[in-house]
């Protein structure tokens, strides 16, 4: 995963920040009703003409990519799983994939900007520049009253979906998530588990994002999300300390067990690794484990997802993949002085 870097702002709690903008061309049917390949070509061509002049960008047609390549992009959070179902899907991205445009997903264009840690304004700034670059060559579907028109009315207006991925092991352990979720729901935002099946949040990773996109300006959406994220970050930090002072050695035991398994296991599955790396990151933030940062742990967690390992090492069967994962994690955890 090229865009995720250790040492980012608030990385003891925040993994990453993402901005998405939904945009459409004014005189072409939206993807759900798009039947003519010519229309799809036009969507691709206009984006290429506007964006490829910025030298760092590259264009990909999804139908030209292998299944594995596509799954890697999904695991890296560069594209959505929905894009895989698009007949005419495409991608334009910069070299570290921090800035990209999905072509013909739910909308003609889904612009995306990713940043490590809590960096809402920087991520938005990149997306805004990209948006304006694209609009030089594309006549957007825009209405004075309703703003940017989107395939689904849930995105109309700014078309902006801003989200932060948080690591909340203490609030999860304190069973505080339902309360926080309902609180956040009251102010036009939503919380959901970042990994795992359905509503179960694997490794205590959650995503907070805005729900309302119309009637509020971009600045308002971003500043509200930022203050909400800061509030949750402070809750989490406070709860971590409280848990440690009340649980003491019991908590240390759980964390050192996680370190032990990660250091010595010869095979480890994705879900187990995620859960244990989450525990170790928790321990790092409390000063129990030293010599590694939370950011480095998130990095290794993201870089040991199944398709990413398969692409790197060519391990196709799950047992080989689990062995490769254990090897990578062991190296990171046993580096000198630890």
């Amino acid at each position: 995963m090229k865009w995720l870097k250790a040492g980012a702002p608030e990385s003891d709690v925040v993994v990453s920040t993402r901005i998405r903008l939904a945009r459409n061309i004014t005189d072409v049917p939206f993807p759900a009703r798009m039947t003519a390949p010519n229309d799809a070509e036009k969507v691709h061509r206009l984006a290429k003409e506007s964006l490829l002049k910025a030298s760092d960008f590259r264009y990909f047609r999804l139908s030209d990519m292998s299944e594995l390549e596509k799954r890697v992009l999904v695991e890296e959070n560069v594209i959505s799983a929905d894009l895989l179902r698009s007949r005419f899907g495409g991608l334009i991205s910069n070299s570290d994939q921090s800035v990209s445009v999905m072509l013909i997903e739910e909308d003609h264009y889904r612009l995306q900007s990713l940043a490590s840690g809590l960096d809402i304004y920087k991520a938005y700034d990149e997306a805004d520049r990209l948006d304006n670059l694209l609009s030089e060559g594309v006549q957007y579907a825009f209405d004075e009253k309703l703003g940017f028109l989107t395939s689904c009315p849930t995105n109309v207006g700014t078309g902006l979906r801003a989200s932060v991925m948080l690591h909340l092991p203490a609030l999860t352990a304190a069973k505080a998530l339902p309360r926080i979720t309902s609180m956040i729901g009251k102010v036009g935002m939503t919380v959901r588990g970042a990994f795992g099946e359905g509503s179960a949040a694997l490794g205590a990773f959650y995503q907070i994002s805005n729900q309302i996109t119309l009637g509020v300006s971009e600045s308002e959406i971003l500043s509200r999300l930022l203050s909400m994220a800061n509030k949750v970050i402070n809750f989490e930090r406070g709860t971590r300390k409280e848990l440690y002072s009340s649980l003491g050695i019991a908590l240390e035991d759980r964390i050192w067990r996680a370190v032990g398994v990660l250091k010595y296991a010869r095979r480890i599955g994705d879900a187990e690794a995620q859960k244990l790396l989450s525990d170790v990151a928790f321990g790092v933030s409390l000063g129990i484990v030293e010599g590694i940062t939370s950011g480095e742990l998130y990095e290794v967690m993201m870089n040991t997802r199944p398709a990413i390992i398969a692409q790197r090492d060519g391990h196709i069967n799950p047992a080989e993949r689990d062995a490769a994962r254990a090897e990578i994690i062991k190296k990171v955890l046993t580096k000198e002085g630890r």
């Binding site: 049917p29 805004d128 579907a141 009315p153 902006l160 309302i212 119309l214």
Partner: protein, 164 residues
């Protein structure tokens, strides 16, 4: 279709999940689905059903002349077909939009407009950090008795403070 779990009853609940990079679709009967602890999408209660409570009652046979979308199809999948649909179905979808966003008036950016949300704060941060750097440089200049440089730095700091 039979339930994937019990292989006895008819499957009425269909769940698509994305786990470990793989798309999986599970078909279950209502009974097995209720025993599964994961979030289940009930076929009789979708987001679009939910939103349709906001839709104004108009004739479903209304159709967009550009893309052929009908109001009925919008009610089914919650998706509009093209920019023109917003005009054609305006009366029906405005209440829905209001229901979702509590507003029907865009107050954000226009195409091509540059949005710099915290420009003021960022400039302030830059000014503060510049001041800190100058103050450190001033101390260093005084320490090595470079008074000409120190005087220049002092004036620069004074100028910055005046601007605040």
């Amino acid at each position: 279709m039979l339930c994937d779990n019990c292989l006895k009853n008819n499957a009425t609940v269909h769940m698509t999940t994305f786990v470990n990079g793989q798309v999986k679709t599970v078909h279950l009967c209502a009974q097995c689905a209720s025993q599964k602890k994961t979030a289940v999408v009930m076929p009789w209660f979708s987001f679009n059903d939910f939103m349709s409570t906001f839709y104004a009652e108009t004739a479903d046979n209304q159709q967009c002349e550009v893309c052929g979308t009908t109001l009925e199809s919008f009610k089914k999948d919650g998706k509009l077909g093209c920019a023109n649909c917003y005009k054609v179905f305006e009366d029906s979808i405005l209440p829905a939009i209001k229901g979702i966003h509590m507003s029907v008036a865009h107050t954000g950016k226009h195409p091509g407009e540059r949005v710099e949300p915290n420009k003021k704060e960022r400039e302030e941060d830059d000014r503060q950090s510049l001041k800190e750097r100058l103050k450190t440089a001033l101390k260093e200049a005084v320490a090595v008795e470079n008074f000409e440089e120190a005087a220049r730095l002092r004036d620069e700091i004074a100028l910055l403070e005046k601007g605040e």
